[in-house]
């Protein structure tokens, strides 16, 4: 079983990459290949040109800037997971990455690849949406930033243009000591989740919630923020949260159905998992004294 024939290109610089994308038709970018290669081996897709970006060093790496933490699109999942910056400033991302594939796939797979492929059950796009991350994109018209709210266009469909490539993701960390929670259900550790939930919380010194992000993933075709439920948490005390409306919000989503899982079961899981994520976020929220 192998991919259909294609022309292989290996640019060494971003300029070469940009030129190739402008010139070539039916081209695909090969990052870590952990989703693209199976699709090519199974001949779900057959690009005429494969542009391998593994040898462009500027596309990988994690740096803190005034605008936030920028993670290069080609940064391998294993490097994001072991990054001290990520573990201390974006603990939710590290927590989620433990559920992304296995050591063999994290050694190759990249955060940018996952966020361009956009499997509805993928953890990294879900975390990006919870953080309102910014997607830094380059193309024929230069560089521009796409907010997470505009990045997800649908099932496996991002806002990236055909001649564009994702350069990096930018995360704005939440306050030190913020609460974070992550829960998913998968049939085998590391498999794509059937469904999952994410919660981020900030509180004041009395323990009242001042900021919240709640998200369900693997339920609809894209990760879904539960904005109304987020608003309802504000002002509540962390020790006495009314979790039921949050669970109900996740349970009311339009869930997908497939050969393995009914929509009803997915909705049930969405409720259970957002509840667990929120409880974990309450437990990890540090009290400021």
């Amino acid at each position: 079983m192998k991919a259909s024939p294609f022309q292989y290109h290996r640019p060494q610089t971003r300029e070469e990459l940009g030129a190739l994308l402008t010139r070539l038709d039916n081209a695909k970018i090969l990052a870590g290949g952990q989703s693209l290669m199976p699709m090519m081996n199974l001949r779900v897709i057959a690009p005429d040109h494969l542009i391998d970006i593994n040898r462009i060093p500027e596309l990988a790496g994690i740096r803190e800037t005034a605008a936030g933490i920028e993670i290069g699109a080609m940064t391998r999942q294993t490097d994001v997971l072991s990054s001290e910056t990520v573990r201390s400033r974006l603990p939710l991302l590290a927590r989620a990455l433990e559920h992304v594939g296995h050591i063999q796939t994290r050694a190759r797979g990249t955060i940018g690849g996952s966020c361009c492929h956009l499997d509805p059950s993928a953890e990294q796009p879900a975390v990006s949406a919870a953080f309102d991350a910014e997607f830094i994109v380059s193309g024929p018209n230069g560089r521009h930033v796409i907010p997470a709210s505009a990045w997800f266009e649908g099932l496996l469909q991002s806002a990236l243009g055909e001649q564009e490539y994702l350069e990096a993701l930018r995360f704005k960390p939440w306050a030190n000591g913020h609460g974070y929670g992550f829960a998913e259900y998968a049939r085998r550790h590391g498999d794509f989740a059937v469904a999952g939930g994410i919660a981020l919380l900030e509180g004041d010194r009395d323990g009242r919630i001042t900021r919240a992000a709640l998200l369900s993933f693997g339920v609809e075709s894209s990760p879904r923020r539960l904005t109304e439920a987020e608003g309802a948490l504000l002002g509540q005390h962390v020790d006495n949260l009314d979790i039921e409306p949050v669970i109900e919000a996740a349970r009311s989503l339009e869930a997908m159905e497939d050969a393995h899982v009914t929509a009803g079961y997915r909705r049930h899981l969405a409720g259970v998992l957002i509840g667990r994520a929120l409880k974990e976020a309450c437990a990890t929220l540090e009290r400021q004294s």
Binding site: M1, K2, A3, S4, P5, F6, Q7, Y8, R10, L30, G33, Q34, M37, P38, N41, L42, L50, D52, N54, T78, G101, H102, I103, Q104, T105, A107, R108, R188, H189, G190
Partner: protein, 159 residues
Amino acid sequence: MTERSVSFTLNGEQREAKVDPRTHLGDFLRHSLGLTGTHLGCEHGVCGACTVIVDGAPVRSCLMLAVQIEGSVVETVEGLGNPDSLSTLQQAFVTNHGLQCGFCTPGMLMTLEAYLRSTPMPTERDVRIAISGNICRCTGYEGIVQAALDVAATRADRT
């Protein structure tokens, strides 16, 4: 399609070869180089049988193109030991009945070889998570996990 030449280190030996860009690393090792120790199961990244070590990291050789190993250091099960002189990990698999049909074994060995280099003192749970991307349909994993723990314990005694 145009063949490309690749030069790389394989089990300590410098090699050069010509490859069709669409050939994945697993097929290249087996068909072009005759190294049939690497097994191909699902060829879409689920079973882990084809795991080899590239530049120190365990990777699925069915999800990497042979043309991508240019300049890299590749290790396969043939580099671990041989029938007359098994590696410590291979011997631990034998001792603990960590294999039956042997199909998943090369992938299990290469995954654990890479893992134990970076995590010399794993817990049982760590080992189970480390091999969660490798499917074995014979052993129930108990012998494999025990083999890895034995190797870790032996190495800990020595240091």
